[in-house]
């Protein structure tokens, strides 16, 4: 059974005072239902993702108690990709015909923090100040720049692009363009990454209505088919967040594994993709992920970025809605925001930030602690 997306909805990303994460989730769901032209009572099952909210399925209290199976998901930074994969698999199994995938979160500002023992790390690792994600991203891009000749200017260009795209997105958190000089000159956090090369945890929600592909035309003239949606975790030897040690023998990270598996499942190659959403926890992550997902060779990013190929009008438009840099990262919602953007782009409804040339295939990727990646491939 194939899967189609027949509705998408978003609660803007940013900071919203007293509004709860559950409220934002309900708003995103209502917008997705309206987009699909269905009622809440038509929904047969749901998956909900969140980090901060223990029971995001409590959103039913605001929508109607209809008795449907509704499962909560937390899977690190790949939470929203996992929500979508599980919802899609439920359709693929033939169990239900129409369901909701929703993600919502409401984080405090500042780097994420937790007890290292909850991540199977020793407590000394946190005591000495090594249990945090930004310095991992600093190390990874610093090494990558050394190995593949990427400059700090390229990182600033990527961040400036995403802020520029965010300025065209009414739902984005940061809507002010920022110059490369301002980005390079902001406070150094983890060499070579400055403050404005990093995204911030924030608030928001996103929802998607999934449907049996053979019934999608009941709801929309332009169903978007979900050709692959899957998650992979790190293998021994991959350079990953929260690793007090690593073996000498290296292997590729979970993004590479997820990407290869997704392209194989979809029967589509990177060259067919017309719009791309990548995990840009920091500007360096976008640079690395472009190669890890098969869109270029290691080191080519220096030229691709300088030539504007990642811009909305370029050959490989990346993070057309501003990505995590402009939208921030409500963990539970982030990956469904990516899907929301790709669906709008494939339908030709992305307004000011519409990719020209009618893209037919879109791609989304999430990556994060504790070494988990999620990839989705969507097509007309």
């Amino acid at each position: 059974m194939d899967v189609a997306i027949v509705g998408v909805g978003l609660h803007p990303f940013g900071r919203f005072g007293d509004r709860t994460g559950i409220d934002m989730g309900a708003i995103a769901i209502r917008r997705a239902l309206a987009d699909a032209g269905v009622e809440w009572r038509d929904i047969q099952f749901g998956f909900a993702g969140s980090y901060e909210i223990d029971n995001p399925d409590a959103v039913v209290a605001l929508l109607g108690l209809t008795g449907i199976p509704f499962t909560n998901v937390y899977n690190g930074c790949a939470t929203a990709a996992s929500v979508l994969a599980l919802a899609a698999d439920t359709i693929r199994l033939g169990e239900h015909d129409l369901g909701i995938a929703v993600g919502m979160d409401k984080h405090l500002p500042g780097a994420f923090s937790s007890d290292p023992r909850l991540y199977a790390c020793p407590s000394w690792y946190g005591e000495v100040g090594q249990f945090l994600t930004p310095k991992f991203f600093g190390m990874k891009i610093n090494k990558y720049m050394d190995d593949h000749g990427i400059s700090a200017r390229t990182l600033a260009r990527v961040a400036a692009k995403n802020y520029r795209n965010g300025a065209r997105n009414p739902n984005a958190f940061r809507r002010k363009p920022m110059s490369e000089e301002e980005i390079l000159g902001s406070r150094m956090l983890n060499h070579p990454l400055t403050q404005y090369m990093f995204c911030s945890p924030d608030e928001g929600a996103a929802a998607v209505v999934v449907c049996r592909a053979d019934r999608a035309h009941r709801y929309t003239d332009k169903p978007i088919y979900l050709r692959a949606s899957l998650v992979r975790t790190r293998r021994l030897g991959a350079f990953e967040v929260h690793s007090p040690w690593l073996p000498i023998e290296e292997t590729v990270g979970p993004t590479v594994d997820a990407s290869r598996a997704a392209f194989e499942k979809a029967g589509i190659g990177p060259k067919d993709v017309g719009v791309i959403q990548l995990q840009d926890t920091d500007a360096g992550a976008e640079v690395i992920h472009l190669a890890e997902n098969g869109f270029c060779a290691d080191g080519d990013q220096e030229r691709l970025v300088a030539d504007g190929e990642l811009e909305i009008g370029g050959r490989l438009p990346v993070n057309t809605d501003g990505g995590l840099l402009a939208n921030g990262e409500p963990i539970g919602a982030s990956g469904l925001r990516q899907v929301h953007e790709v669906v709008l782009q494939l339908r030709g409804q992305a307004g000011e930030r519409q990719v020209p040339g009618e893209p037919k295939v879109g791609y989304t990727q999430l990556y994060g602690a504790p070494g988990v990646a999620g990839v989705s491939i969507l097509s007309l």
Binding site: G110, P247, I248
Partner: protein, 94 residues
Amino acid sequence: MATHLLSRRGRLWAWTTQEFPPPAPPYAGPTGAAFVPFGVGYVALADEVRVEARLTKTTGLKVGMDMELVLVPFRTDGDGNEVMTFAFRPVGEA
């Protein structure tokens, strides 16, 4: 399980700097005005394992450079005792 003695020396495999105080807890070191930025990196010990550790410097670091293990002051506990931690510094530097 058996104890295995690792080399005190290795080569720097990757590095960055920690220029803001990590969230506390779990971080137990000096914060606020007392915070001093430190280096962080992976050192490949004699082709046996890569370990992540504090580095004694935040500048002049280069992938591939020879590093050695040292003990450095980390914090002062409630009784005024100096608590040490391990770190790596470039071989031959003070």
